[in-house]
Symmetry: C2
Subunit: 158 residues, 2 copies
């Protein structure tokens, strides 16, 4: 664990914009941005379960997908910004590509597999961002079934 920097706040804002875009499209409001060590945005995206009827396009996976096919060296010293604690699939993707650092908007509405990041030596920061949390709280209250489906839980009927 470490403290968020000013850059972290800037990029989390962009991840939040992605989440909000997802919400406005009628989707699950989680956003992510992959940033290089020099501050270049390599990829950004949001959860597309509803929009694309996809079980795999979580926010982090969408960001990796928009970054496209890259050599392993391109992921060196990158940071993944995500508005919500990453699930096991997204955590596994972060470990696969050896992304160096993960900044998490909040982990109050859902705790994913951030413990694996720690075990595998990936630095991560939880910002406990109020805006990220409020958007998720609103979505979970409005559509518990869709949310349950996204994390492999049996929620209410949709």
């Amino acid at each position: 664990m470490s403290t968020p920097t000013e850059d972290d706040k800037k990029f989390m804002k962009i991840a939040y914009e992605e989440a909000k875009k997802g919400y406005d499209e009628g989707g699950i409001p989680i956003g992510a941005v992959l940033v290089s060590s020099t501050g270049e945005i390599l990829g950004r995206g949001h959860n597309r379960r509803i929009q694309d009827s996809s079980p795999i396009l979580h926010a982090e996976i969408s960001a990796l997908q928009t970054a496209g096919r890259l050599p392993a060296s391109s992921y060196k010293n990158t940071t993944m910004y995500t508005t919500l604690s990453p699930c096991s699939m997204c955590t596994g993707a972060i470990l696969l590509y050896k992304i160096s650092r993960v900044v998490i908007g909040e982990n109050r509405t859902f705790v994913g597999s951030e413990d694996w990041l720690g075990v595998k030596g990936v630095e991560f920061v939880v910002m406990d961002d109020e805006e990220c949390r409020k958007l998720m709280e609103r979505f979970i209250k409005e559509r518990p079934g869709d949310w349950g489906e996204d994390i492999g839980e049996e929620g209410e009927e949709r």
Copy 2:
């Protein structure tokens, strides 16, 4: 760990066909099939890194994608067949959807994160299938750079 059944051999054959199709398309030869408890194929696919320029469409992820958006209950008692030991992303996806069982073609050419499956109580079987192994050995020899990229390793130039 447990012993492969006759059904396991049948479905691994289908996963291998997917892998072979990927190889014939000029791609990375790994295939996967998601099968319900009643033996219905819910999804099948192969690695599409080269074909779709995608860093996320590993075989297991492709199989989940073709299965489409499903309620959590649909993954109950399913088996994921994969020709190769699943990487951390694919292992994480298997855990996310609480897939009950994983049958692995081989883990000699690559050992992914199957240890996590064990830790999380997911039953898995390694078939040590010669056909799966030979296809991967051939591919790794022919295109080490593409293979390295797929597992986040710096291989030879492509």
